[in-house]
């Protein structure tokens, strides 16, 4: 659950509307409940999209978070 927490915190820093998508189902990246309902585990492919003034920055920042493995070796995202 920590990664979901970190993701929401990071997303909350941006003005843009950010969505995260799994298997065609998309949820608000600023809602931890939404992210948890995705039930995503490690290794699952997710798509991030953002619309707004700082959209590009937001995507770069969030992608980094994923790339870093949320600074931990946890095997779960949700």
């Amino acid at each position: 659950m920590r990664p979901a927490d970190l993701l929401v915190r990071a997303a909350g820093r941006f003005q843009s509307q950010i969505e995260i998508q799994k298997d065609g189902h998309s949820v608000d990246c600023k809602s931890i409940m939404g992210i948890l309902t995705l039930g995503a585990a490690q290794g699952v492919s997710l798509t991030l999209s953002a619309t707004g003034l700082d959209a590009e920055e937001a995507l770069t920042c969030l992608a980094e978070l994923f790339a870093d493995g949320f600074n931990e070796s946890d095997s779960e995202v949700a």
Partner: protein, 581 residues
């Protein structure tokens, strides 16, 4: 007034206000508000969110200090749930568009999510459901405290629920909860054991009753007779209060026994040890004059937390117990999780027959990393006193050897790291599977001690799931087959010169304790609260009394005959104890 009969699993009488905890969490009735109050209600909700958020913040800081960052991180995620914009929108919609109370709005929305997570199946997701329940509770408390309100002015509440999971039981606020009653469950189940450990009266297996009661109603839990009385009359209340006073006096008398030796009239000494679950129970052990801890269940570390405990967490708890016991023996049982006791799950799939499945030592051997972590912590704590290691549920010689091999490796690792390990650590096994009893001649030469775990031995011998209320009445330690297995184990242990003790529930009733002594057992381990009674019984009989009783008991063909005989004999030997026992 409504009287319900269930199964008494933890003695004592509790009087308090009902606090209902159902599968969905605290029950919130679907209540609506006047449409003119909608704005106020929305405002109440916002204030509650702020309040809950600051409470969580406190929790987070406190738990991060006390339990480490990982637990703190859970509260951080809880806080994120509180601040979730989509939850806010859904709550406000229910209040503003549909005129529901803030309590109901919170509960119904969160329950829907909890349900959704549970339906996602994996163990991890059902834990999310538990997280949601925590958030819900915090919010409801912030709203003027639904649960706090229900706990009544004097703070004495009786928890009523369909079933209490072991982890819920472990988290109970002992200050406020004075008793509990559940619709399902049986004697010997984990919940019952925890209840006894906490010394909270409990009645389980009451059948469906939650729909018939309301929060905050008066209730009496009679943990002696297995009775629950809802909305009792003044007369009954008075009678129970009087009885509680009499019991309190008797308890004081029993506590005077603390420093007297546990021996029969003819001077045969019996070591009385205590079963504990939580480190704080050490106090109760010493107060009851226990000669040591005969069974330290180490599961609580897993049950209370979401993440697997670290070696340090294990070590701190073990070290605390071992050093507090000041050189008295502490028999630590390695992880006995599985079946009804799963905390966070090392495996997420379901088993059809968890009691015949991957539990206890099997689970440890299958998860060597987890097992090693625990063994390392135990061995490190061993330097602080007399710590002994016991493997649960050994069924085959191969399992025992594998477990000992892992232990050997862990000792080597520690020595390589220059961490002191005592030259000799006693290693034993629980005898709780009939297969182990039959193979004792092979097992005994490879252990320092055995401890008979009657709870599981009964269920595996009689093929009765002790938590299944449909067959719970078939679960009895007095069945002749069980008695024979115990006797056989004791005889074998003596033949091989290996120490034998009994640490199941049978040790805790004076009647069965005398029977066990008659079989030749000289070490009994029981919950601290049971020790004074057992000691009192022992001090009033001779060894010959016990032996004659045991011999006769082995001659019967049915549990009912054994029980009837023992009751009569007990009343003859100990008339004072038999009354009102």
């Amino acid at each position: 007034m409504l009287e319900l009969q269930g199964i008494a699993v933890s003695p004592g009488v509790a009087i308090g206000k009902v606090l209902i905890l159902d599968q969905e969490g605290y029950r919130i009735t679907r209540s609506q508000i006047d449409s003119s109050d909608r704005n106020n209600e929305a405002q109440r909700l916002r204030q509650a969110i702020d309040e809950a958020s600051s409470r969580l913040d406190e929790h987070r800081q406190r738990s991060a200090e006390k339990l480490g960052k990982k637990v703190g991180a859970i509260f951080s995620a809880h806080q994120q749930m509180l601040l979730d914009p989509s939850l806010h929108a859904e709550w406000l919609r229910l209040i503003e568009d549909e005129c529901y109370s803030a309590e109901y709005a919170i509960s119904s929305v969160l329950n829907r999510y909890a349900q959704a997570f549970r339906n996602m199946g994996s163990g991890m997701m059902s834990e999310r459901a538990a997280d949601i329940r925590d958030v819900e509770r915090t919010l409801l408390e912030a709203l003027g405290g639904h649960p706090t309100q229900a706990s009544g002015g004097d703070g004495q509440s009786v928890l009523a629920s369909h079933d209490l999971t072991p982890s819920e039981t472990a988290k109970l606020d002992r200050e406020k909860i004075v008793g509990f009653c559940t619709e399902v469950g049986g004697p010997g189940g984990h919940t019952a054991i925890v209840a006894r450990g906490l010394e909270i009266p409990a009645v389980v297996g009451l059948g469906t009753f939650l729909h018939r009661i309301a929060n905050a109603a008066d209730v009496i839990v009679d943990g002696y007779r297995g009775r629950v009385i809802l909305q009792p009359t003044e007369e009954i209340l008075a009678r129970y209060r009087e009885r509680m006073e009499v019991r309190a006096t008797r308890t004081t008398k029993l506590s005077e026994l603390r420093d007297l030796p546990a021996q029969t009239l003819d001077g045969t000494h019996v070591s009385l040890m205590a079963n504990i679950e939580f480190p704080y129970e050490v106090e109760a052990c010493l107060a009851r004059g226990a000669e040591g801890v005969g069974l330290y269940r180490t599961e609580f570390l897993y049950l209370g937390s979401v993440k697997e405990p670290t070696e340090e967490q294990h070590f701190e708890a073990y070290h605390q117990v071992v050093s507090a016991m000041g050189g008295k023996p502490v028999v630590m049982r390695t992880l006995d999780l599985g079946a009804d006791k799963m905390g966070q799950s090392p495996r997420s799939d379901r088993e059809n027959n968890p009691f015949l499945g991957l539990r206890s030592i099997r689970l440890s051997l299958r998860n060597p990393h987890m097992f090693r972590t625990q063994l390392r912590a135990m061995l490190r704590a061993a330097s602080a006193g007399d710590l002994r290691i016991m493997f649960p549920m050994i069924t085959t010689l191969h399992e025992l050897r594998t477990a000992r091999m892992v232990l050997r490796q862990v000792i080597d690792d520690l020595q390589e790291d220059n961490i002191p390990v005592p030259a000799k650590v006693s290693v034993g096994m629980m005898v709780e599977v009939p297969a182990a009893v039959l193979m004792l001649d092979h097992l005994l030469p490879e252990v320092d001690f055995i401890s008979i775990g009657t709870n599981d031995l009964i269920q595996y011998t009689l093929a009765v799931d002790r938590t299944n209320e449909y067959v719970a009445d078939l679960y009895t330690g007095l069945d002749p087959s069980v008695l024979r297995l115990i006797k056989q184990s004791v005889d074998q242990a003596k033949k091989y010169g290996v120490d034998v003790s009994v640490c199941g529930e049978m040790s805790s009733t004076p009647l069965c304790a005398l029977l066990l002594v008659g079989f030749g057992v000289r070490t009994l381990s029981a919950p601290p609260s049971a020790l004074p009674q057992v000691k009192q019984a022992l001090r009033n009989v001779t060894l010959a009394d016990c032996e004659a009783m045991a011999q006769r008991a082995l001659e019967f063909g049915t549990a009912r005959e054994v029980d009837a005989y023992l009751q009569v004999r007990f009343a003859q030997l100990l008339p004072e104890m038999a009354i009102g026992a």
